[in-house]
Every structure is written in structure tokens, then in C-alpha cells.
């Protein structure tokens, strides 16, 4: 078999069919940082709402202008109705920004007795984990998603479609991995070791683990300090009695994501690194049996003119510049050079996108052209929604 050119025609991602299908209840937008996930989520939510769905968009860390375009002025962790949308088709739109600390606090308060809740909220280890642990944001995004899903269809929560943006993590995989990591840690061997003394009534509990334990705990005490370990013990014991295992909760949200009715949209910029991340993510979704709707390649360079190749344009520009003609000659040369560079950029981007499609045949793709400015109003979001739908 010769390594000749392969057909790289990826199927088109039909966004409208996805969001118009009442069976679609959750859309998760994921991808590495800086690729336009949040904007994509917001644009998708608006388009779905204006075509008649009752939508809530959960954003994680929106740029200020994007938040303003949705009418969100503060991070208050509560879905707010977005006004000024076209409701002729009977849809509605709510939007919210995730406040991970507040979400964590609410979970604590909702699941423990008042005295105990205060004790947990005041624990320094809890405060650190709830505001800065690398997986907390992902975990709380899933927690919030679970809450939004549970309340869906009630009077205060009219939505039948949840569009989720994912945290701006280093790797797209963090969103899937972090909750499980937190869950398995809190359920893991080391934590059982730490909590054993308290549960079994003092040091007797340690015997379960044998002789190595003494060395481990004394070393950890030396390294981290006894205070930190005892804060951790208090924290974990409190959580344990509270929800009977973080693990279970993480598994539950994870399950929600693999159900029918959920669709993952992988968002990428037409760059090597972003598309490589997208590849990892797509492979992972397949391995875990998670429903992938397709790939959105954002910010593809726009080319308006047709009828001249880049090399022809550059040659013509050069001859115009050499001719020493009037101002219009140098202007025409500039236009030709501009066109050549736009075409070359677009070609390179398309080649990168094609490379993705060659290694992941059959995955539907939508291309969204670059906009001149960042989105700062609903019209800007509509324009992106329009492009997403390929119209």
C-alpha cells in the first residue's frame, strides 16, 4: 500500500441537530486552556435557547467581557436569567459562574449538623483544600453539574439543557481525572491510616497496618509538622461521617457524564499543542465510553479573496514593488502580500486540523472563523453560534 494522500474529509459536526434534540440534556465543552471553551459554551447555550431549549450555562472562569455579555456581574454561584435574548421559540437562558469555595461550603453545610459544619469550615486544611487544591475546581464543577441536573425542570430551575464549561486546566484530561483523584485519595490507604487512630479509639488502630506505620507517620510528622497532620485527620473524619465516602460521590458524577443525554464537545485552537491535547482527550473519552459529539476548531484564519495562489500573489507583489509605480502600486502589493500570508496561515491550520482527522477518522468537526474582537455582547455570541452551526 503506498502512503499516498488519504481522504481527510471529516464529517461536519451538526450543532443544531445536537442542541435541538430533546434527548440532549448535558453538553460538556472541554479542551486545554486558551482555546475559547467558555465562549463556545456561552455561544452554544444562547443558540440553543433561541431555538427553543430551556438552557443553563455553567461557566468556570469567564473573561470579564464575556461575563458581562451574559449579564453576569458577580461570581455568585447562582444561575441568573439572561435577559434580552430572543424568546420567540419559547426558550430561556440562565447563566452562572462557579464559585468553587462556596460550592464546597454549601456541600458541607447541606450534609452535616450545624455544629459540625462550623468545625469543618474553620479547619485550616479544609480552607486550603477548598480554595487551592488543584483538583477542587474540577470536582466542584462536577458537583455543581450534579446539582443543576437534580434541580432541572422545577419552577426555579426551568432548564432542560445544561451547557458546561470546564476549568482552565493544564491538561484537558484534568477535568476527568481530578475528581477521581480527590475521591480515591480521600478513600485511600494513607487517609485510612491517618484516620484509623481516631476511629479505633487511639493507637490500637495502628496495629492493623503493621510496623511500617510508625515510620511513616513519624516521618510525615517531621516533614509536614504534626499540626498539619492533625488538621487533616480532623478534616477527613468530619467529611467521612458526613457523606459516607467522597469516592462514591465522584463515581456518581462520573457516571452522569457517561449516560445517554450527555455530549462532549472537544474545543481546540488550530495549533499543534491544542490539537495534541484534543487528541489525548478524544482517545480518553473513547476508552471510557463517554459520548463524544465532535471537535470544534476555533479561530480559523479568515480568507475572503479567491482566484490567486499565495506564490502567484507574492510574485506579483514583488514585481509591483520593483516597478516603482504610484502609491496604488505599493498598496496593491501590500494587499497581495496580506492575502498570501492569510492563505498560508489558513492552509497550515487546515493541515493541522486534517492531521487530527486522519488519526481520528469519523469524528465530526466544526470550524469557527477567527473574529476581529473578543465577544462582548449577545450579538457577538450569536455570530459564533452561527459559525458553530456552519451557517
Amino acid at each position: 500500500m503506498s502512503p499516498g494522500p488519504v481522504s481527510t474529509k471529516a464529517p461536519l459536526l451538526n450543532i443544531d441537530a445536537l442542541i435541538d434534540d430533546p434527548a440532549t440534556q448535558i453538553v460538556v465543552c472541554c479542551g486545554s486552556g486558551g482555546v475559547g471553551k467558555t465562549t463556545t459554551a456561552a455561544a452554544l447555550g444562547l443558540r440553543a435557547a433561541e431555538s427553543g431549549r430551556k438552557v443553563v450555562v455553567l461557566t468556570i472562569d469567564p473573561a470579564r467581557r464575556l461575563a458581562q455579555s451574559l449579564g453576569l456581574t458577580e461570581l455568585d454561584n447562582t444561575p441568573r436569567p439572561v435577559t434580552d435574548i430572543d424568546t420567540a421559540a419559547g426558550g430561556s437562558l440562565h447563566a452562572m459562574m462557579l464559585d468553587m469555595k462556596r460550592t464546597f461550603d454549601e456541600v458541607v453545610i447541606a450534609h452535616s449538623e450545624p455544629g459540625k459544619a462550623e468545625q469543618i469550615l474553620a479547619n485550616p486544611f479544609y480552607q486550603a483544600v477548598s480554595s487551592s487544591f488543584a483538583g477542587t475546581q474540577e470536582y466542584m464543577a462536577m458537583e455543581k453539574l450534579g446539582q443543576l441536573k437534580a434541580s432541572a425542570g422545577t419552577e426555579d430551575a426551568p432548564w432542560d439543557l445544561i451547557v458546561v464549561d470546564t476549568p482552565p486546566s493544564r491538561s484537558a484530561l484534568d477535568f476527568l481525572d481530578a475528581p477521581n483523584r480527590l475521591g480515591s485519595f480521600l478513600d485511600g490507604r494513607f487517609i485510612r491510616l491517618l484516620t484509623a487512630p481516631a476511629k479505633a479509639g487511639g493507637r490500637a488502630g495502628l496495629k492493623v497496618f503493621g510496623v511500617g506505620v510508625q515510620i511513616v507517620t513519624s516521618t510525615m510528622t517531621k516533614i509536614l509538622g504534626g499540626q498539619m497532620l492533625s488538621d487533616v485527620q480532623t478534616f477527613v473524619n468530619a467529611l467521612d461521617t458526613m457523606f459516607g465516602g467522597f469516592r462514591e460521590r465522584a463515581d456518581e458524577t462520573y457516571r452522569l457524564l457517561s449516560e445517554d443525554g450527555t455530549a462532549f464537545l472537544v474545543v481546540a485552537a488550530p495549533e499543534r499543542d491544542a490539537l495534541r491535547e484534543a487528541s489525548y482527550f478524544v482517545d480518553r473519552l473513547e476508552a471510557d465510553g463517554m459520548p463524544l459529539a465532535g471537535l470544534v476548531v476555533n479561530r480559523i484564519g479568515r480568507v475572503s479573496a479567491t482566484g490567486v495562489t499565495p506564490s502567484r500573489a507574492l510574485a506579483a507583489a514583488e514585481s509591483l514593488e520593483e516597478s516603482g509605480g504610484p502609491k496604488s502600486a505599493s498598496n496593491a502589493a501590500g494587499l497581495l502580500r496580506l492575502h498570501a500570508s492569510l492563505v498560508r496561515t489558513a492552509e497550515r491550520q487546515r493541515e493541522l486540523a486534517d492531521r487530527f482527522s486522519r488519526s481520528h477518522p469519523g469524528i465530526p468537526v466544526a470550524h469557527v472563523p477567527a473574529l476581529g474582537r473578543d465577544v462582548h455582547d449577545l450579538d457577538g455570541l450569536r455570530e459564533i453560534g452561527h459559525a458553530l452551526a456552519g451557517s
Binding site: V129, F190, G307, L320, G325, N331, L335
Partner: protein, 350 residues
Amino acid sequence: MTTGPTDPSWARARLHVVTGKGGTGKTTVASAIALALASAHAHVLLTEVEGRQGISQTFDVPPLGTDETRIVRLPGGGEVVGLAIEPKAALLEYLQLFYKLGRAGKLLEKFGAIDFATTIAPGVRDVLLIGKIYEANRRRRDGKHKGDAPPVYDGIVLDAPPTGRIGRFLSVNSEVADLARVGPIASQAGSITRLLESEQTVVHLVTLLEEMPVQETLEAIADLRAKGLHPGAIIVNMVREPLLDDTALEQARAGRLHKPSIRTQLGEAGVKATPELVDGLLEEARDHAQRIDLEREQLALLEATGLPIAQLPALPGGVDSGSVRELADLLVPLFVHRAGAPTGTEQAHA
């Protein structure tokens, strides 16, 4: 292209922390800064902490491990040594150093204590990552960490976490000091904080001339300043030169470029000037003019910070080890202040 103060206050910096929003080319710029420093005969350590193997991809060398590996040697004796710092390895190395742990190290691993310390215990991971850099910064050529021997490295460049997390990453030591009140982590946290807050450490910010990265850059600068850290230079990456002069841009923006004469000129150059081509070119020119306006607005916002600004061109063919050297040449004026004296050398050898 460099603007701003010519003799920045960070001329004596030894630790160059490079941050930027995702997608701005942070790793490429960190690599170029390392090469620029090395061009003045310096021994430079280039480190990454996010497990992405960005350095090996940029220089097209095999993936970096937890050993310091020379990746570039320049004529004249300068060199760049690469290191991918990994928290688990850093912790085990650290335990070995302080406790001579043999069996206990394995036990800690078995019980999940290493995982605990490197992934869950808040901030410890970042302290370990920065702690490794702190160690490399102090290491002398005789292998000791104090004394009169010259330091192993004349400069250290850190490809750091993105702008959204940089303030927290660099101030994590003070945070950890609050949690772990005793023990070597706590005592080392104090020394590390002093290094990071001293003039030996500067934080460079990589951005594009687009709204979101510029906004994040401005917020990061304010955050760094509030935390007592020193912002260094702003590196504007992937800059494209305007292809039309200001008058033509002005006309393009207003849609007033003279269509008939453009059509005539295209014809003279032998290009068939169809309406699709001419109208398309004018539309592209208008987009271009609007884009240039936006870039100029963004550049003005960056200039208002008072920090030195270096601009690096977009690389039409993408990044490879050759193009990184071209970028490094452009950074030399900002990072190397006298022939033969890379930033920091004087102080390091004093």
C-alpha cells in the same frame, strides 16, 4: 524591538520566571531567554514544572528526565541545561538529602504518603517544585551549597505555570508556612520566599496583542506587585508587521481604498482582477486594519505598566530549534547587558 527602560532594575536577576496565558508561546519564549543568556558564555538551567515535556519538543531532543541534561552548547562556551522537575522525584531526593531515607522512602510510597504530599497536601507540590530550583540556584561548582566556589549556574529560567496561577505558585511558600508550621518544609519555605522576593528573581510575562491575554497580563502584574514579587519584562509574542502603511490602513478601515487603481495595478502585475478577488482583497485589508487598531490599543495598555517590552515576530513556519535561536538573538539586548557579562554573573561570582 525593545522599548521601555533600557537598564531595568532586574539586571542582576539570576532566576527568570516566565509566565503567560495558555497559547501565548510561554515555553518558546522561556527557551529563547535561556539561549539569550547562554549566548554570553553563561551556564543556564532551563526548567519546566508542569510535566508537559515542552522543552524537549522545542529543542527537538529526547524527553527530559529528572537529571539535569545539557541540551545546547554554544560556540564560546555558553550552554543550556534542561530539567523537567517532577514533584515525586523532588520529594524523594529531598528526603534522601535531609533524612538519608532508604527503606522509609519506599514505605512512604507504599502507603500513599508520597502521593498525599505531592498531590493533595495543599501547596506542598509547588514548594517542592520551587525548592528544587532553589537548590539548583545555590549549588556551587564543588557540589556544595555554600562557600566561595562559583555557582554551577549563572542563570536559571523557569517555564512556570500560566498567568492565572503564577501569583499563587510563587507565594505558595508563605501559604505553606502557615499550614506546616514546623519541619524542614516550613523552614525552607522561609528561605525560598526570601529568594523569590529578592531582586534576584524576576517574573517575565509572555502575551499576544489580544484582549484576553493582555487583560490577564495586566492582572498578573498587579497581583505580583501586591505580593512583593518583581515583574521583569513583557514579551509580546507572535507580532505581525502591518503590510500596509498608515495612510493605506486608514483608507482600508474606512473602505476607501481606490478600487479602480488597485484593479489596474493588479492587471499590470499580470493578476486577473476579478471582482471576487478585488472585493475579497479589500475586505481582507479592512479586517487587517481593524486588527492593527486592536493591537495598538493593547500595546498601549502594556506600555502603561512602565515595564520594558520586547516584541518577537510570528514564525511563519512554526517553532523549531532554529527559529528559537532567531528569537533568542532578538532578546539579547534586553537580557545581556555587557559583552561577556550575562545578567546575574557579577553578583553570582562576587
